[in-house]
Point group: C2
Chain length 98, copies 2
Amino acid sequence: MPFVEIDVNQTINDILDSDAELKQMWNESRTEYAVLGELVKLRKAQGLSQVELAEKTGNKQQVISRIENKENSPTLKTLCGILDVLNYDIQFVPRVQV
Amino acid sequence: MPFVEIDVNQTINDILDSDAELKQMWNESRTEYAVLGELVKLRKAQGLSQVELAEKTGNKQQVISRIENKENSPTLKTLCGILDVLNYDIQFVPRVQV
DNA sequence: ATATTGTACAACATATATGTTGTATTTGTC
DNA sequence: GACAAATACAACATATATGTTGTACAATAT
C-alpha cells in the first residue's frame, strides 16, 4: 500500500464540523484530555510504573490505569495526590488562542 | 484590648507539629485547597456570580458553592468545564521549595 | 422596612469515582 | 517460545460528586 499523507487535525476538524453534537463532546473533553496526557508524561518521565505511582499515592494500579485511559475523570483530590508524589503543582494560565 | 502580633504561619506549624495525624491531613489537602482558592479568585475577577458561572458551565449554583467551600472535591471534568468558561488552562509546574 | 441579589445549607436521588479482587493482555527480555 | 513486568479489562461494593428542590442567611439598594 502506498503512503497516503493526511492532515490529522484537518481531518478531525472536518469530521467535527459535520456533527455538532460530536463537536460539543470533543470540545468539552479537550482540556481534560490534555491534562491527563500530561499526567502520563510526568509519570513516565520519572520512571515510575503505574504500580509504583499507585503505592506512593495510596491508590490502586487499576485506578491509575482508568485515569490515564480517560475512563474516569479523577477528583481534584486524587489528581493533587498524584501531583504531590510527582512534585508538581497546578497552575491556572490564561488560555492562549487556539 | 491591645494588639497582639502573631505569626499565623508559625502558629499553624506549631499546631501541626504537635499532631502528626492532623499534619498529614493538612498536607494532603494543601495543594487542592490552593487550587480551589485560585478558582474563586478567577470567578470574582471576571465579575461572575456563582449563578452566572453555573449557567455558563451547565452546573448548579449549589455545586459551585460546594466546590468553592471545599465541601466537595470536583472531578477534573467539572473543573475543566469551569476553566473553559473562564478561558483558563491547567498547567503542571515543578513544585518550588516551600 | 422591603426587595433584590448572592451565597450557603439541607435532604434526598442519581451518577460516577474509587476500592477490591481476579485475570487477561500487552510489552520487553532472555 | 518462555518468562516477567507493566498495563488493561471486568465485575461488584462502597464512597463521594453531582442533580434537584427548597430554603435560609447575608449584603446591598430602593
